[in-house]
C-alpha cells in the first residue's frame, strides 16, 4: 500500500505487525484523541522498609528475573560517554538471555560494542530514535531478524503509552540517587542534566533499576525519577566517561560554511515575521543550527526583543541567553553540557521536562505545539522539502529522527539549514533516500547557495522578497547542485525491509531497505 507520500509500505511485517500508512502530519491529530487504546502502567508493590540496594548491576538484573523475549530500555542522556547499556547487555548475554528487544531512547557509536549481540541472537529487534556507527551499518545490512523501528522522541512516548513498546526492564543511569531511587542527572561527578527521556520508562516499565556512581543522603533533590517507580538501585564506580557525557561549554562553530549558512538563516528568521516579542525558539546542539542562535541573539539585543522560552536540546549557549534576560525560561528535555546542569539546579526558570510534555502529540498540548521558531539540520532534503535525518549517502543508518518531525510539525516557522552538497554528495536532490519529516512541515530551506521557501508558504516568500532576500526555486537549486556534483548513483538495496520509520502519530512514513553488500 502507498502512503500519502507515495512510499510503498507493507501491510504488515513480521516482528512488528500491521502497519498504518502515513496520511499527513495532522491526519490523526485532527480527531482530538488517539484511536489506539493506551495501556495502564504496571501495578507494583513493596513491603515497608524494603532494601532496594544491590551490590552490583548483575545482582540487580538477576533480581528482575530477565527472560527470553524481554524488552529492555535505557535513556541516552550519557551520550558518547555511556557504558551502562553495553555492560547491561553483556550481563544479560552472560545469563543466556536471548531474543531481547532493545528499546533505548537512542543509540550512538558508544554502543558499537554490542554488535556481536545483534549477530548472535541475544538482541533480535531494536526500537530507537537514532542508530549510528557500526550498529547502524549492520542493521542496514540486515543483521537483525526483525525490522528496527525508528521513532521520534514524541512518538516513543506514544508507543509506550499504547503498549507498542512494552518495557520489561528499564536501566536508568543517574548522576545522583538516594537509596530509594529518587534520582537526578543535574548534579554529581557525572552530571548530565535533564533526564527527560527516562521519565516514561520509569513510569511504564515493569521493573526499573537506577544505576548511579553517586549515592546521596535521602532524599535526593531534585528528583527526575521518583522512588515509587524504582525497584532496585545500584551504586557503581562510574556510570560513564564524564568527559564524553558533557563537555565544558558548547562553543559556536568556527567552520566558515556553517557560519555562512547560519548568517543567512538568521536573516530569513529576522524578516519572516516570526521574530517578535515573546517568541519561542529551538535550535540544534551544534553546527550551523546552533550558530543561528549567535546571530539571533545579536538581533534580539539590537531590537530589544524578549523571547518566551527556549526548548530542546539545550546547550550552555541557551543558558547564557536565559541569564542575559533574552528569554523568560528554558524547557529542557536534554542537556548538552556541564554548564546546563548547574543552571537546571540553580534557576527555577530552567525547567526539566519529560519527553511526553516535550513532544508526544497525543495529549492536551506538548511543548512543540507552542513553538514559534525551530532551526533543524538535514542529511538530505528533496524538492518536495521532505527531509532525511536517518540514512546516509550509502544507505546506512547513521542519524536520528529525534525531535525533528516533532518540532517541525508544531513550529510556526521551521527552518532547515544545511549545505547544498557535502564533498561531492548532493544534499538537495530530487528524492531523499529515507523520509523522516514530511515536506509539509518544512517552511524554508537555507543553504549557502540559495534560500528556498515551501510553496505552501506564499506569505513567507512575500515577506522575504519584500525585504530584499532572494528566494530560489528548490528545483533550480537541485539542478545547480547536480551540475556541480553530477548525478549520484542510486543506492543499491534489496526488497527486504530492515527498518520502518514511524511518524510521531504511529503511522509509517518510510521504510529502510537492506543495503546490497
Amino acid at each position: 500500500m502507498k502512503n500519502i507520500l507515495q512510499i510503498n509500505i507493507p501491510e504488515e511485517l513480521d516482528g512488528i505487525g500491521k502497519l498504518e500508512p502515513f496520511q499527513g502530519a495532522f491526519a490523526k491529530l485532527k480527531k482530538g484523541w488517539m484511536e489506539e487504546k493506551t495501556v495502564p502502567p504496571p501495578n507494583k508493590a513493596k513491603l515497608p522498609h524494603s532494601n532496594k540496594m544491590c551490590a552490583t548491576l548483575k545482582e540487580a538484573i538477576v533480581k528482575t528475573k530477565p527472560y527470553d523475549g524481554m524488552t529492555i530500555s535505557f535513556h541516552h542522556h550519557l551520550r558518547g560517554g555511556d557504558n551502562l547499556l553495553v555492560e547491561s547487555i553483556k550481563i544479560l548475554a552472560e545469563l543466556g538471555i536471548k531474543d531481547i528487544t532493545l528499546a533505548s531512547s537512542s543509540l550512538t557509536s558508544a554502543h558499537d560494542p554490542i554488535l556481536p549481540y545483534l549477530k548472535d541472537g541475544t538482541i533480535t529487534q531494536v526500537y530507537s530514535s537514532g542508530i549510528r556507527g557500526e550498529l547502524g551499518k549492520a542493521i542496514a545490512e540486515g543483521v537483525l531478524p526483525k525490522p528496527c523501528v525508528i521513532h521520534s522522541h514524541g512518538g516513543r512516548v506514544r508507543s509506550v503509552h499504547t503498549g507498542r513498546i512494552k518495557i520489561d526492564l528499564a536501566i536508568l543511569a543517574a548522576s545522583a540517587s538516594d537509596i530509594e531511587g529518587n534520582a537526578t542527572g543535574s548534579h554529581g561527578p557525572s552530571a548530565f542534566g535533564s533526564m527527560g527521556y527516562a521519565a516514561i520508562d520509569s513510569w511504564y516499565s515493569k521493573q526499573v533499576i537506577v544505576v548511579t556512581d553517586n549515592i546521596v543522603d535521602y532524599p535526593c533533590v531534585p528528583q527526575s525519577v521518583t522512588q515509587n517507580y524504582i525497584d532496585f538501585v545500584v551504586n557503581v564506580d562510574s556510570i560513564g566517561d564524564p568527559s564524553k557525557i558533557a563537555g565544558g561549554t558548547t562553543r559556536i562553530t568556527k567552520a566558515p560554511m556553517d557560519l555562512q549558512i547560519a548568517r543567512l538563516a538568521a536573516k530569513v528568521i529576522e524578516h519572516s515575521g516570526e521574530l517578535k516579542e515573546g517568541f519561542s525558539f529551538q535550535v540544534g546542539a551544534g553546527g550551523a543550527s546552533l550558530a543561528v542562535a549567535k546571530y539571533i541573539r545579536k538581533i534580539m539585543k539590537q531590537r530589544t526583543i524578549k523571547g518566551s522560552f527556549i526548548l530542546g536540546g539545550v546547550t550552555s549557549y541557551g543558558v547564557d541567553m536565559l541569564n542575559e534576560g533574552l528569554f523568560r525560561s528554558i524547557f529542557d528535555v536534554q542537556s548538552f553540557d556541564a554548564a546546563v546542569s548547574s543552571s537546571l539546579m540553580d534557576n527555577p526558570y530552567h525547567i526539566e521536562i519529560p519527553a511526553g510534555l516535550y513532544a508526544n502529540p497525543f495529549n492536551c498540548g506538548c511543548m512543540t505545539n507552542k513553538l514559534d521558531i525551530v532551526v533543524l539540520g538535514a542529511l538530505e532534503i528533496d524538492t518536495d522539502f521532505n527531509v532525511n535525518v536517518i540514512t546516509g549517502s550509502e544507505g546506512y543508518v547513521r542519524g536520528a529522527s529525534g525531535g525533528h518531525s516533532d518540532t517541525a510539525s508544531g513550529a510556526n516557522l521551521t527552518v532547515v539549514v544545511c549545505p547544498s552538497f557535502r564533498g561531492r554528495i548532493p544534499i538537495v536532490k530530487d528524492k531523499v533516500h529515507t523520509i523522516v519529516t514530511p515536506g509539509e512541515s518544512i517552511d524554508v530551506l537555507v543553504t549557502e547557495r540559495g534560500i528556498c521557501v515551501n510553496p505552501n508558504r506564499p506569505d513567507l516568500k512575500n515577506n522575504l522578497e519584500e525585504r530584499g532576500i532572494q528566494v530560489k526555486d528548490i528545483t533550480d537549486l537541485a539542478r545547480e547542485v547536480e551540475s556541480i556534483t553530477g548525478k549520484a548513483k542510486s543506492i543499491e538495496v534489496t526488497d527486504r525491509v530492515v527498518g520502518v520509520v514511524e511518524y510521531r502519530d504511529g503511522s509509517i512514513i518510510d521504510v529502510i531497505h537492506q543495503v546490497k553488500m
Binding site: 568556527k254 566558515p256 560554511m257 557560519l259 555562512q260 548568517r263 564533498g423 549557502e448 547557495r449 556541480i484
Partner: protein, 298 residues
Amino acid sequence: MMEVKQQTFKRRTMLYIPGNNPAMLQQGSVYGADGVLLDLEDAVALNQKDSARILVSHMLRYISYEGCEVTVRVNHIDTPFGLDDLKQIVPLQPDAIRLPKVETLDEISRIIRLIEEIEDEHQMPHDQMKVHVMIETALGVQNVYDIARYSPRIDAISIGGQDLAADMQLVKANDGVGIDYARKQIVMAAKACKIDVFDTVYVDVENEEGLRDEAEYIKKLGFTGKAIINPRQIEIVNEVFTPTEIEIRKAAKIVKAFERNKAEGIGVFAVDGKMVDAPVVKRALRVLEMADIDVETL
C-alpha cells in the same frame, strides 16, 4: 592621462583560496566575497604545485563562480613553476591573473610579453584578461608607479605585507607601522594610474575588532579593497567598504542636484552649503555604484 577603468566587479574583498584544496575551491563563491584568488603560489607547498595547477585549471573550466571576480595567482616567472602556470592558466582566461613579487619595469614587461605570446598562440585578444601586480619587496615599492603604468591591462596593485616585512627585515609587529610608507606609496601609484589597490592580509583571524580597525584605516589611506584569508573576515571588510546610509543619502542628493542643474546648464552648484563640481559628482556616483543603487531609479 589614463582613462577611468570601467568596473564590472566590486573589489572590496578578495578571498584567497589554496589551489590544491578542492573543497575550498568549489565553495569559494558562496561567502559573499567580491572576488576569489585561486592561489598557485604561497599557499601551495612545493610538492603540490603541479596538482594545484591541474586542479585550478579544472575548476576554471567547470565551476561557475557566480558573480565573483576570479583571479589566479601564478608563481613568479623566475621559479621552476611560473612558466608552466602561465602556459596552463592564460588560455583559460580567468578574469585576472596576479603576478607576485614584481620588482622592476623590465620584469613586468617580460611577463606581459609572455602572456601575450601565449594568447597569440591561442588566438586570444590581449585586453580580455586583466593583470594584477603584487608589490612585496622594497625594490618593488620603489618602482611601483613605473610597473603599474606599464600596460592598460594592469588594473590593480596589491601589497604583500608579509613578504614585504620580511624583505625589509622588520621585527614582527602587528601595528603595520613598518609597512605604512609602502602602503601609501602603492596607493599613490594606483591613484596616479586610476586603478584599484588591495591591502594585504590580516592574519589574526580571531581578532574581528582588529580587522575592522585595520580596514577602516586602510580605507582612509585610499585602498579600494583587502585580501581575505578566512570567510569570517568578509562581512566585516565588505561592511567597511560599503557606503553607510548617510553617505548614500548624501550621494543621492548630490547626483539629483547635478541632474537638475545640468539640465539648466549649471556646472557648479551648492548642496547643503558645500560646493559641488565634477569630481564631487564623480565620487557621489561611485558611492551609489558601491551601494548597488541604479542612478536611473533616483
